[in-house]
Point group: C2
Chain length 311, copies 2
């Protein structure tokens, strides 16, 4: 399909064509059947999260976040004056969301719960069984469940779970996603929110005075990307798994050490303290070399107490 003259203002909620593709992809990924009137296009998932936050959270509200969270979350969800309530993950629970802890943090002022699986920065993946009690609590207590699923497509289909697909979630679940990770289109700034139509009306009003629509040619490219039967996410998944194994192989047997001076990881919430973040976004050989050096360095730290190197 070729289009010319695509340089003018566009529909504020997004081009119909693109919203239809989003509705289909959303169904494929989450199991929730929606039509295009429940999909709104934004300038990236970050813009979608910000917009949702502006529309559902007000001063005096509480919003529950699960640590560690993506570093923009505190600013994004407190920007309208809401109070952040953080639920720490603990390494003893494999950094998983504990549904009981989340539900236990709900008060009369809770307006939204934010989940993000696969999680940035920690990579935890939540199962449908973890979502179910949270969805139920949100329905019962009329709380929004905001699910940031920008990494969901990176999982093998059988590993994917989304709260939106759980019966009853239709009226409380807002799903945010984008092409940044699944299609490596980070700089193209295309994301979306899928949610109840009532919310779409508010998102439209906000978009009108916030961004006034996306560039038409960017939405054309996004629609083509969604229509194409390419498995970029699968390719990225393979690289990530291979690189993850490299890191595990080199570092999993190392003892815990305490670094006097370290790069703080607490931009992701207090429970990031004491952890080290290793990016898998570099070539295998560079990652292997980095792991070798980290391993060597850590072993020099434990030598004084354990002369023959650690196990």
């Amino acid at each position: 399909m070729r289009r010319s003259g695509r340089h003018h203002y566009t529909p504020v909620q997004g081009e119909l064509d693109l919203r239809r593709e989003i509705a289909m992809r959303h169904f494929e990924l989450t199991g929730q059947r929606v039509n295009e009137s429940r999909c709104a296009v934004f300038s990236g998932a970050q813009n979608a999260l910000f917009s949702v936050s502006q529309c559902v959270l007000d001063r005096g509200d509480e919003v529950i976040l699960i640590e560690p969270y993506y570093s923009t979350y505190p600013a994004t969800f407190s920007s309208g004056g809401a109070t952040l309530v953080s639920i720490p993950s603990s390494s003893s629970r494999n950094m998983q969301m504990d549904p009981e802890a989340v539900i236990g943090a709900i008060t009369d002022r809770t307006r939204a719960i934010v989940v993000n699986s696969p999680n940035n920065p920690i990579g935890s993946v939540y199962a449908r069984e973890q979502y179910e009690p949270v969805v139920k609590a949100c329905i019962d207590r009329k709380i929004w469940l905001i699910s940031d699923e920008v990494y969901l497509e990176m999982l093998a289909p059988e590993d994917r779970a989304s709260p939106a697909g759980i019966p009853g979630a239709d009226e409380i679940c807002i799903t945010v996603s984008s092409l940044s990770k699944s299609h490596r289109m980070t700089g193209w700034r295309v994301g979306w929110a899928v949610g109840p139509e009532e919310l779409m009306r508010h998102l439209y009003n906000l978009s009108l005075c916030m961004i006034y629509g996306l560039p038409p040619f960017i939405m054309d490219a996004a629609a083509v990307a969604l229509r194409m039967d390419v498995n970029i996410a699968g390719t990225v998944r393979e690289s990530m798994n291979r690189r993850r194994k490299i890191v595990v192989e080199h570092l999993s047997s190392l003892p815990n050490v305490q670094l006097l001076e370290s790069l703080p990881c607490d931009g992701f919430g207090d429970s990031g303290e004491g952890l080290i973040r290793i990016s898998l976004g570099v070539k295998d050989e560079l990652l292997r070399e980095a792991c070798r050096r980290i391993r060597e360095f850590v072993l020099t730290l434990v030598k004084p107490r354990n002369a023959d190197g650690g196990g």
Copy 2:
């Protein structure tokens, strides 16, 4: 200049290259000398206005607008909870800003004054003499002066005036502009705000959680557009002047009539009531035909009272 691989995240305040071009263009248009650290790129002027509003206006503040104003203004400037204070323009004053009326509307709660010349929707152009007392009042009372200048380049150089160029305006003036009108790049969504460095820090924090930067290739195109020595604004100005003459020729001699059913023009503020907005954005022949029909129609309305057509 060719660049490849321009598909990733970009600096949130905007590419340095583009901000330098903006600083130069801003100086050329306004006479205010700034460097790139005082320029922030946004997804269109609308996004810049929204962002400035978020950063400077809070609940309880008052913001002064001059009617008629662009239809997104009320939502944009009240989005953070500020109260709008409208100063109506009157056709007896040729729809001009009256500096005394603006200054008279200032109270202890006034946080910002918004000006827009050339004005959308009415086309009024303000002179430096009108800005001077307003700038002085803003400096004296520590009030932001937000100047939306997206149409400024459409004026012949000798007709342009900007409050930013007035001595002392450096610390209170925030200038918003874009490529949408000057370069007919409406759909590309490139705009900017120029203001004090202290404000830039806040705009950066907001952008980080609101849009997270613009697409790199869009900023490349914008920088090229600003660097190119093309006079698109001049070409548009000629067309607009020619078309304006067509409208004046056909319609200026018509009497005022009252339409029982009309498209309300009050999205631009109450003082838009009773006015009709005619777009010059169509080809000459179509505009001429439209004016002929409007003229014929209006003359049928006045016929009963004035059988030989109006003068």
